[in-house]
Symmetry: C2
Subunit: 648 residues, 2 copies
């Protein structure tokens, strides 16, 4: 077996390991962050959970750190009280970004993890099977229920050779995106193997595994080898290491190979992580901002390499050089190693540890100016600036732009500025510091904790069952690859409402159509409405708000050419019927505002996978299909997982 | 002569040094920050300024650093282009808070300065005469015009003795506020003298001078003595030092004395800097957040003392421990000295260098929870949280709360936690680094610079002349000590609109009455409206938006019991007539919504200082008085300084 199969096999509680079949997995660990976590905690409350049933469940606070008003700090207090109440770990604001922090403090080779963040897959770096899912599925996992998903294909990517100077792990995942685009990983687990792994540390692998999310993959996995052992030793946790390697005769459903020595610095152009080209092709473009950090380049190495490149130089005059340390622990290491000093001296704005600009929490670029970031995503508007121009690149490429004020192939730095590629000497051990991680309370104490709910923290909306007859207008028609950032934006303006569905629903699809929310809200208590989408509908973040908010506004059915995995699951979890066109051409026939009629919906969903929708304007009838498992069918009929649980 | 008189005498271009008389002063330096500076730059543009006429004019960017969308970074680019165009220095975002940075890099004993920030007075720490005024007055000063003000009384405060352990400069100014309240300094310059000065460094004096603004003082001054020389030497600028001492026989209009050894740790309770009590009196109150930083405690010493107190301890679990370094320079020093490491290790969230939470740019406290801050102001809602509870204290008191989670007299720390008062060893020299300060462009190059205006940067509103007959409703009646934070809030939501008067006007008085803006906007093109206030109307920040925004909404007259200095000048600058009740009882007769009629206003303003207003509801007639100088009368009649310049 390969590594992915071993991990699945070890945790399989239902189904068969045949690609496409629904399987159930036992979940050892969970991860929630604050932007999705408040909803998860409200779900645990609605489920009357007594205590978390997992080995480790951690509630991180890393997204909503700006605190423009009381809503974010109120959420933090709520999350802390909920963590105490349900027996979770709590990672305080300022402790760091969930993914690298989790890998450093809790990650364990061989374990499974479900996380309400699409980059949960990063933990695959150390031989975990770690999957980003909707909040409700994490809530179920915390309650001890299995995680259900369709058995993915295993995609073996064999790495050979060594990375050249000025090229790093980020360029490996950008190469994957250059080759395969944002849908290349759909329905697959990417397993990296081969002799090229020897040159990649556990944190380099984190970079690669993290942005597997951008390929649409279910997750990515690496073996747990000596590099993982070295990493865990440095974190004072060598005892958590176990070796997990693919069998010598392991095979993969799909195969691919990257010869690392042939890679060049790559960059994703605005506004998709899939728009990858060699840096040299776009060199010379003026740059107004660079932002270093996020879960996509979170390791000490990623900051230290930039620090050594810019050491004794100054960032370009007009440019804003923003640095977001991944965690307090890494900030301590950066301080000890003198790298923080180098960054400050070169003109960096050192921000608090957290996701920050990656999630649009500040650091928005100026109108029409290029921003280069080591982050994982550059979907339109995600930065906070309406017509933004965000590029994704490696720390090396970022450093070159910081010094020149232009997109610059970092391999030019020796000639341009007499800078050699730094030979980093990283410490063997991290500055382990767990004082901002609160451990779960003992059970008797936990039972007495009251949830602390500020005035902005509301409950879940009522979810009624799926109607049998739906005759409703198409409230919105969108194109391919619409991301959850476009369905329900993040950012400093919207994220503070993550605990308040009524209020946050006003921002639904605001990036795409500012009038959508008001238009469909008028139909909320009447016919409701439908949304029509193209390919890969709902890619990106795992936020279930992108489902709960439009559901609150009366969305009952989404018809698309195809769906992104997490969003598709979220739709089912909250009782929205996700249908696919069987004839791609029918997509072109629908116009926004058309009324579609679907008859006998409940029977059709329950008894087969086909149904029809009639377009009252064009007179045309569309053949539609769902891909729901019987488990999901029950959920959708009931109006969602929560009413289903309540009725049980 | 005393120091204040010497400084005034050296710069006097008109008037006599008799308290109450209008004097004109030659201005050597100016300071603008981004929240007020965009308007100043638009004013310079409206004035067709060719080039700054001052010795030193610096445009800082320290307020609007969050960048939730493109508005803030667009402002930064605009300010940079304007600084280049008009021959100003430009301090980049991340370089630091204006006041300490100015003192470190540009402050010169004996110089005058006008700044569009109420804490400009901080520079009095090194023997400058430095006055916070409205933006338009700074624009005039940049253009080489004198600054006009009423000659203040000079208030000599003799300091004797030495501060005890756990008591620091912040407690000196809190003692002043305890004794005299937020109006105690109105119409006065506070001059500190006496043997107690010997124990106060230039940065300690900055703490005291800075919060002179909270006493309502015109400014504060200290002599330029050996402590100032030592400070300038440490900044590599000893050549800028000149000795400026009061003559031995100098006298003061008012006298006061503080024996430093008798001081105890003090704290200002919510929600006024004047609510000062000993810390011991409120000890035990739970604390949810502490925030270290701002221009009120900006020195290396203020951070280092906290670092040494919390070293090897951990901040309390629930509490958020926020640290805002004052500047890149101080952050470099904190890093070099190991203090930053101590702070990080103790659980601090290290934010970018700047004003941050002090101006409501993030760091809002949770609903109903106490926040202790080393900042200068705690006016209601300034933190961003509607019903906030912000307390102002010294770094020592803050550190004690950080460790205990409760308001704690820091003198208890030896007993409580076995912590001795640290004996600080500060470096002799600062990490001088000017790379984020761009010097003025040569004149020929400057002339070719185009202003970079993002879509949010609009011009000044049209300002029509003062009508002769005003018959308009009282759009709002407010009580005593209404601050400019209540007239026009700052904070993350509102500050990004500082370049857009139409949009920002929607927030006018929103803290006090959410419906005000909409209510009076309806009268904008008709009768306009009046506002009635109590004592000390318009205290606090120098923001001229608190005048321009209501003027845009049709405000023509404010009638109050008394006015705060800067706001009163701003009203005249923008053609709003500021009138005082001669009978305090008349204030009680007016009700919000009453229509007041003022006849023959233009002649009354021009020819005397009295006029009458008839209340159409009560039938009562009020005797009103203005205190405008002939120069200001001309301005108000013309509709403001800008129409006056334009007509000239």
């Amino acid at each position: 077996m390969n590594v992915a199969q071993k991990l699945i096999c070890d945790h399989l509680v239902s189904g068969e390991m045949n690609p496409g079949d629904e399987i159930g997995l036992r979940i050892d660990q969970t991860l929630t962050q604050d932007a999705t976590g408040t909803m998860v905690m409200l779900e645990l409350e609605a489920m009357d959970l007594v205590r978390a049933q997992t080995d480790v469940s951690v509630q991180y606070v890393d997204h909503n750190l700006l605190q423009a008003d009381a809503r974010n700090p109120d959420d933090h207090l709520f999350l802390r009280s909920a963590a105490q109440r349900f027996g979770l770990w709590y990672s305080k604001p300022g402790n760091g970004v969930s993914h690298p922090t989790h890998q450093q403090r809790f990650g364990r080779p061989g374990a499974t993890m479900a996380g309400s963040d699409s980059h949960t897959c990063a933990a695959g770096a150390i031989g975990m099977l770690s999957i980003g899912v909707g909040g409700l599925e994490v809530a179920m996992a915390i309650a001890g229920e299995p995680l259900y998903l369709r058995m993915p294909e295993i995609w073996g990517v064999r790495l050979t050779g060594e990375l050249p100077a000025w090229v790093s792990a980020k360029d490996v995942i950008l190469e994957m995106l250059r080759r395969h685009g944002v849908k290349g990983g759909v329905g697959r687990i990417i397993e990296y193997h081969g002799p090229g792994l020897a040159g990649l540390s556990a944190m380099d692998r984190h970079v690669i595994a993290n942005m597997g999310a951008e390929l649409g993959a279910t997750t990515s996995v690496f073996p747990s080898d000596d590099a993982v052992r070295t990493f865990l030793r440095g974190e004072g946790r060598e005892e958590d290491w176990t070796e997990i390697l693919a069998d010598e005769d392991a095979t993969y459903d799909v195969e691919d190979e990257i010869e690392l020595s042939t890679l060049v610095p790559l960059i994703a152009k605005p506004s998709s992580p899939g728009n990858v080209v060699p840096v040299s092709e776009v060199a010379g473009e003026p740059v107004s901002q660079v932002v270093l950090g996020s879960s996509a380049n979170p390791g000490l190495r990623d900051f230290a390499i930039v620090a050594e490149i810019v050491r004794d130089h100054q960032s370009e005059a007009e440019l804003s050089f923003d640095v977001n340390p991944s965690s307090r622990q890494i900030l301590e290491d950066l301080t000890k190693g003198g790298w923080l000093f180098d960054l400050i001296k070169a003109g960096a704005r050192i921000h608090q540890s957290g996701c920050m600009g990656c999630i649009g929490m500040g650091q928005a670029p100026a109108t029409g100016r290029n921003s280069l970031r080591t982050m994982p995503r550059n979907f339109p508007g995600r930065s906070g600036t309406r017509e933004d121009a965000v590029w994704l690149c490696s720390p090396e490429t970022l450093a070159a732009a910081a010094l020149t004020g232009k997109i610059t192939d970092p391999r030019e730095l020796p000639d341009l500025l007499d800078i050699d590629y730094p030979k980093l000497q990283l410490p063997d051990s991290s500055s382990v510091n767990t004082a901002m991680l609160e451990s779960p309370l003992p059970e008797d104490e936990a039972q007495r904790v009251e949830l602390v709910k500020g005035p902005n923290i509301s409950g879940l909306p009522e979810l009624d069952e799926l109607p049998d007859h739906i005759e409703a207008p198409v409230g919105l028609k969108v194109g391919d690859n619409v991301s959850t950032d476009e369905i329900l934006p993040a950012g400093a303006r919207v994220l503070p409402y993550r605990s308040n569905i009524e209020k946050i629903s006003e921002f639904t699809f605001a990036q795409v159509d500012e009038e959508y929310a008001e238009r469909v809200a008028a139909l909320k208590d009447g016919t409701g409405h439908l949304v029509v989408g193209g390919e890969n509908y709902g890619q990106g973040s795992s936020r279930e708000h992108a489902v709960i908010a439009p559901r609150y506004l009366g969305l009952r059915v989404v018809i698309a050419k195809s769906f992104a995995r997490i969003h598709w699951q979220n739709l089912a979890n909250f009782g929205i019927l996700a249908l696919e066109f069987t004839e791609a051409g029918d997509y072109d026939d629908v116009e926004q505002g058309d009324t579609l009629a679907l008859d006998g919906v409940r029977d059709a969903v329950a008894q087969g996978d086909r149904m029809q929708a009639k377009n009252e304007r064009s007179g045309k009838t569309y053949e539609l299909r769902h891909r729901l498992s019987p488990r999901q069918v029950a959920m959708v009929l009931a109006g969602g997982q929560i009413p289903l649980l309540r009725d049980a």
